[in-house]
């Protein structure tokens, strides 16, 4: 079988003098050469392989992209396996192998903060099953009942006789046994490996330059390629002139793919890029050239008052309640397009022959990449394979396989030659599936005592499903548009109990492709809801926390109170500093944030601290949750401060970090994470807290300046006094 593996972290040696000599140095080639080893040592089951030297190899189907899922999943397997954590290493099974084995590793898709919460049950069962088989093998060897044996730390003990044996010594015998039909999983309160703040399994490689990403992959005979697709998404290639480029050094071939892009293949990327710059392209963009941010905004504004809309959440009669209310409050908010900007631009290596197509790449969805390779190659899936490499960031972007398709189409032009197709940052910035742009009109009624009697939220804007997965629309409606505002469910339910409520969505879809962006629609829905709650609290003359607590359901309220308690909300702050709060439920977890900010007289914002509480149900690795929460604020606050993709003449205007700014270390607030797990469900942690960053900061800004920012990003708003 074909298996990819990581560098074993124990016994890691920095390869010396990885300088002179070329491509063979400084690389770790996965799966090649490991095949023989994998065959020699028989697996206990799909998840666990134990070598004679006690090394434990845990197979991870989800993709590691920085979020720590591989360490967390290894902890869960190791916990049930009762193995020695110091002996644990990991490897990726391939998507092709998964299909051949009737999807024994189940879902490879890595997004929606699902990695751990949706696979925890079956990976734990994999660990527990392997443990039972190891114990059974030892018991058989000793001729004692298995029930008299116990396992801990990779050692099986028969207490009565005092006999012990290591996992490695009985693994071969155990692999020949029938697996038990049922296993009992541990009570999380008895966990020794899971639930603990263990270190990541993939760190040393990343601080020594040894970690190989898709961008770093090579093999003998590999050529490099780069691509320029029509700058207007949906436009076509009319014609191109490569006369000059063809003669440039190193250039092997220049051709069009998919009728919308030109590819240059050369010895090196730099040669390919330089030659591509010399290719003259003519595009057919039709009426798309008339689209701009202004026309898109006009389209969304129209949706705010449109008659037709999809109803996502409804209770009582909101309109009637608001009409009869003592006080009416209304506000309109907007949220622009965002780009993921993974640090590693899109890339993939493909090798095509008449009967086989192979792809090496970072992907959040190995099986989707495999399907894309099959389709582009025109070969059955069984003749294709994808070898997953480490991702230099995903954030939803690498859940799509457009770059895989392009690499395969390029490789098809040169059968037998491996082609590494690399997108320049500029190509990456202008050809994304962007976080959708939306607007919201919120209207509420307060009674004479300042109670919220009715609330209407009209969302207007782009649907991700309509853009990427129209088959998943429900009678035309995009349920994901209501993330964080959903009527019920375990995923992203609305936390407020309001007697009269109407939340609907006027779908307005510009031609810019929309996609899943870390946190997805929870991000802007939380901005709309949580900022408006502060506006309502102000209109009612009440404290924002007290006002929210009148309507929040218990689990939502508990996490908000935990964040506020930790942050000292309501207690005096240093001169000039203000607290803003927010809460939301997303990705199965309950989260809340308290931002502490100051705004100088000349309008300079300083975010001093964010205290964030999370109830993810069960906690698999508190140290990694800490890092995910802190990191999520960099992502969310980068968007809030600077993130804005604009459109001119149908094309995205931003091209690189100089026109699409993101947070640096000097703007990083102190982040304090508060974990308040209730141990009764499994929630995700990669995304939910992103959504509380922006509204908490905006609410604090409103307190500091009296200015209510309703249109992001913040850089377009003047926070100066009197401005």
């Amino acid at each position: 079988m074909t298996i990819q593996t990581s560098l074993g972290r124990r016994g890691f040696l920095v390869s010396g003098a990885a300088v002179a000599g070329g491509f063979s140095l400084g690389f770790h080639l996965p799966f090649e050469g490991n095949e023989a080893q994998a065959q020699a040592v028989k697996e206990l089951n799909a998840w666990v392989v134990i070598h004679p030297d006690d090394k434990v190899v845990i197979r991870i189907a989800r993709s590691e992209m920085g979020q720590g899922t591989l360490t967390g999943l290894c902890q869960l397997v190791a916990e049930e396996l009762d193995c020695d954590w110091s002996k644990v290493t990991w490897e990726y099974p391939t998507p092709g192998e998964n299909l051949k084995r009737n999807r024994v590793w189940r879902n490879f898709s890595t997004g929606g903060s699902r990695g751990i919460r949706e696979s925890q049950q079956y990976v734990r069962e994999g660990g527990a099953t392997a443990r039972e088989m190891l114990i059974a093998a030892a018991a058989k060897q000793w001729n004692v009942p298995a029930a008299e044996c116990s396992a801990a730390n990779s050692i099986i003990t028969h207490k009565a006789s005092g006999k012990t044996v290591t996992y490695g010594a009985v693994a071969a015998a155990a692999s020949a046994l029938e697996p038990p039909k049922e296993v009992k999983l541990k009570d999380p309160k008895d966990w020794k490996i899971a639930g603990k703040p263990l270190k990541r399994l993939d760190t040393v490689e990343k601080v020594t330059g040894q970690q190989m990403y898709g961008m770093d992959y090579t093999m003998p005979g590999l050529l490099n390629a780069t691509v320029r697709a029509c700058p207007v998404i949906g436009g076509k290639l009319k014609d191109f002139d490569a006369g000059k480029a063809e003669k440039m050094p190193g250039v092997k071939k220049i051709f069009a793919i998919d009728g919308n892009a030109v590819v240059v293949v050369a010895d090196t990327y730099w040669q390919a890029k330089t030659a591509l710059d010399a290719v003259v392209t003519n595009w057919d963009i039709g009426d798309l050239g008339k689209v701009s941010t202004a026309t898109i905004n006009a389209m969304l504004k129209e949706g705010l008052d449109a008659k037709e809309a999809f109803v996502g959440n409804k209770a009582g009669d909101a309109q009637k309640a608001i009409e009869g209310a003592a006080k009416k409050v209304e506000a309109v908010y907007s949220f622009p397009y965002q780009h993921h900007v993974t640090m590693e631009p899109m890339n993939a290596t493909a090798r095509y022959t008449a009967d086989k197509c192979e792809v090496w790449c970072g992907t959040q969805n190995g099986e989707a990449a495999l399907a894309a390779a099959s389709e582009a190659a025109g070969l059955p899936v069984s003749q294709c394979e994808v070898y997953k490499l480490m991702l230099g960031g995903g954030f939803g972007r690498r859940g799509r396989s457009d770059y895989v398709r392009q690499a395969v189409l390029a490789a098809k032009q040169m059968p037998g030659t491996p082609i590494k197709l690399i997108w320049s940052r500029e190509e990456d910035m202008t050809h994304c599936q962007y976080h959708p742009t939306t607007m919201a009109k919120l209207t509420a009624g307060l009674d004479a005592q300042g109670n919220l009697v009715g609330l209407q939220i009209r969302l207007s804007g782009q649907s991700i499903l309509a853009s990427l997965l129209p088959q998943n629309l429900v009678n035309g409606m995009d349920p994901i548009a209501f993330q964080g505002l959903m009527q019920s469910g375990v995923e992203a339910a609305y936390g407020y109990d309001i007697p009269n409520l109407m939340i609907d969505h006027a779908m307005r879809n510009p031609h810019i492709t929309a996609g899943f962006w870390r946190g997805v629609n929870v991000n802007q829905n939380a901005v709309y809801m949580e900022c408006f709650m502060d506006e309502l609290a102000a209109a009612a003359g009440q404290d924002p926390l007290a006002f929210r607590l009148k309507y929040l359901k218990p689990k939502w309220a508990a996490v908000l109170k935990a964040a506020c308690d930790k942050a000292g909300y309501g207690k005096p702050l240093p001169e000039g500093r203000f607290h803003g709060i927010s809460q939301v439920m997303g990705y199965g977890s309950y989260v809340a944030g308290v931002a502490e900010v100051s705004v100088s007289k000349d309008g300079q914002l300083k975010i001093h601290k964010i205290t964030a509480a999370t109830n993810p149900g069960h906690v698999v690795n508190p140290a990694q949750i800490d890092r995910q929460v802190a990191g999520s604020f960099v992502y969310g606050l980068s968007a809030a401060l600077y993130g804005e993709i604009t459109v001119k003449d149908g094309a995205v205007e931003q091209t690189n970090f100089d026109s699409y700014n993101v947070m640096r270390i000097d703007e990083m607030p102190d982040v304090e994470t508060v974990l308040v797990p209730t141990h009764d469900f499994w929630g995700g942690v990669g995304e939910p807290t992103i959504a509380v960053a922006a509204p908490a900061v905006l609410n604090a800004i409103a307190k500091a300046t009296g200015k209510r920012v309703r249109n992001l990003p913040l850089m377009n708003n003047d926070l100066k006094k009197g401005a």
Binding site: L13, V14, S15, A17, A18, V19, A20, G22, F23, L25, G26, F27, M65, G66, Q67, K199, D202, T203, V204, E205, K206, V207, T208, G209, Q210, Q211, Y213, M215, D216, T218, P249, T268, Y269, W270, Q271, T274, T342, M343, E344, P345, M390, G392, G393, F395, R425, A623, R627, A630, G631, S632, V634, Y635, N656, F657, D658, M663, R664, I665, D666, M668
Partner: protein, 149 residues
């Protein structure tokens, strides 16, 4: 054929003289620990040391380097022993996806060489590298930890 002084050795390479040092390191010399992130000296993923100073190698034409000493992430751990910054990075579990971390480690190593006890303001000034996973809090803590080590 031309020569560069990389990680203590004279190495031959063949490339157009205007090729950025980054791509010569990655494509001619196989030193892929130095990353391509933006190509316009913004993100810092391509940071190497030239004569001890941190430089964004994506924006340095290879023919401008001459015989200056280039140090890349691959040679930071002398004889396989991680340097202070790398050790602190491992100790504090700094990297997430890790793609920016070669550049971060190179920038932090240069900072510590210049200022053995950097203040937060020194860190803000020197560490202009972009990390999209958001490891900044750990980066700051690890630099302080390395300074104390």
């Amino acid at each position: 054929m031309a020569v560069l002084n990389v990680n203590g050795k004279a190495v031959d390479y063949t490339a157009d003289p205007n090729t950025p040092l980054l791509w010569v390191l990655r494509e001619q010399l196989g030193l892929t620990g130095t990353k391509y992130g933006c190509g316009i000296a913004q993100c810092g993923s391509c940071t190497v040391h030239i004569d001890g100073a941190p430089v964004r190698s994506c924006s340095v034409p290879v023919n401008s380097v001459g015989d200056k000493k280039i140090l890349t992430i691959e040679a930071l751990a002398a004889n396989g022993v991680l340097n202070k910054i790398q050790k602190a990075w491992v100790e504090l579990d700094v990297p997430q996806c890790g793609y920016c971390q070669s550049g971060m480690v190179m920038a932090a190593t240069a900072l510590l060489a210049a200022k053995p006890n950097p203040t937060d303001a020194d860190i803000d000034e020197a560490m202009t590298n972009i990390c999209r996973c958001g490891t900044y809090q750990q980066v700051r803590a690890a630099i302080h930890a390395a300074a104390k080590a």
